[in-house]
């Protein structure tokens, strides 16, 4: 018999097996896109963990709620997939399309719903650490470049920023807090406007590295030196963050690890549906490079 298997190159049909057992061993991950390093790294981490445990990962881009809903319909309701990983579940209120009682884990935001587990960064503390780093260097007028307010992490990092100011008894100034869209261009344009309006500042805390890089360009264009005139701290520690000029000080987050963690949690929920939905909070780490330095003047 064994011989015949070899001879004929027989391999069991996975679909028939899935049908008979009612298990597909397939996970899905819905992400706003697959190219942002943060997302790609989460997905890679999740895929590695999934495969190590005998599952496959189906990655799909859900740029908006409409696509998200269609994906749910085609993948989840048709029972093609046993569990779902959702990156950034609260943008465009896509979480409301989720079916009840389906194994789900959120990434990038703490789940507000008891049915889903979640893996997320300790955003508030990260925001505080970044801001505090600047404060300790003597900066008091610190621009805060945020992501879109519809994203939880943007709100939370801002909360951390405000908390750090408060601890240091620095009055917050609404004109220093600006909403970007994560792109380098948005960082560039916002800082250009601030400069044009003559708003004084010596530090910038950008909620991601791309906006930080854009900010640096705007500063350079009018002859400001980094970090001599203005200190800039980013967020993520994206690849090549250390190869920009100057090398970027930033808050590092281990997105690969969060992907693994999330997949592990999801599989746990699938295999033991009654197990509690865990909420894993991961720390960010300050990486000091050369884009931040002691303030030359105190504004």
């Amino acid at each position: 018999v064994e011989d015949a298997i070899e001879e004929l190159g027989y391999s069991p049909n996975a679909i028939a097996r899935s049908m008979a057992r009612g298990r597909t061993h397939t996970l899905a991950c819905f992400s706003p896109n697959l190219t942002d390093f943060t997302f790609a790294n989460i997905i890679e981490g999740a895929e590695n963990e999934a495969r190590a445990q005998g599952y496959f990962l189906l990655a799909a881009t859900a740029p908006d709620r409409f696509v998200f809903e269609e994906l749910i319909q085609r993948l989840i309701c048709s029972r093609q997939t046993e569990g779902l990983l959702v990156i950034n579940p609260y943008i465009d209120r896509r979480d409301q399309c989720l079916p009840e009682r389906f194994p789900t884990v959120f990434l990038g935001a703490r789940s507000r719903w008891e049915g889903a587990g979640s893996v997320y960064l300790d955003e508030v503390n990260a925001g505080m650490s970044a801001t505090y780093h600047l404060i300790e260097l003597g900066h008091r007028r610190i621009v805060h470049l945020t992501g879109p307010y519809c994203e939880d992490c943007a709100q939370d990092r801002k909360t951390g920023y405000l908390a750090a100011l408060k601890v240091a008894s620095i009055d917050q100034d609404a004109s220093l807090i600006c909403e970007g869209d994560w792109s380098a261009t948005s960082g560039y344009q916002i800082i250009r406007q601030l400069l044009a309006r003559g708003v004084p500042f010596t530090g910038i805390f950008a909620q991601n590295d791309r906006m930080a890089v854009g900010a640096i360009r705007a500063l350079r264009e009018i002859g400001r030196s980094i970090p001599e005139d203005v200190s800039v701290i980013g967020f993520d520690d994206m690849p090549l963050a250390s190869y920009f000029d100057p090398p970027l000080t930033t808050m590092r987050q281990d997105t690969f690890a969060s992907g693994r963690e999330a997949a592990q949690l999801l599989i746990q929920i699938i295999e033991h549906p009654d197990s509690p939905r865990k909420h894993v909070r991961l720390p960010a780490e300050l990486v000091v490079r050369s884009s931040t330095a002691r303030a030359a003047v105190v504004l």
Copy 2:
């Protein structure tokens, strides 16, 4: 009846349907990793096209041939998947693990096998264009930083580099051709060594942007200016290439489009098994920014 469907929230079971019809409408994509922008963008393009045509895309990382083979076994031989996209099929001879007569499309290299279609960049011409750009600016001693020789594109770009030199009647110098591993670090170290050994050159053509960025760092460290002392051209036009200092001159490739194209081809093969295996060659485009300039001296 329709009402009942609504009432009970019925949705047909995709697995049972797959079983009955013998079609899973699922494609797989095996990539060395999911985080390199080039790969991620291909996958995103493929996923978009696939979904537009009613298929799903299962992305998996195959860092080595062993994992690749396991993936084939679990995904292809078990008929869970109807078609396969392979990024960089010729590294570690993984192409030899491929089953015969299974719908397959290669990405990143022209297929040498009649059974598979392929979508690839016109590497030789791209290599020529990059080199020629430097030659036109008056450079004659041009360092060539290649990717690992086991990858087709590294070989082909080098062929283009040599061809351009030949056209310009510049003797090739083996000491100027160095094999890197795509990382910024490798670019940095190679240029550092060249500089330490006193090898003269005024131009660098790096086969990707990351190595170009590493090279620039090494040059800067010993006080060389870019592009005044040395011109550097990269490859890929990765995100933020224009935000490095100086903004990178590079060869742009549209990897998203190649992903779409490949998925389209693959679906064509699945739905019409007798259709010819096409081989689509895409052009690269020179993007001139500020890391290249006219040579000050001719060596």
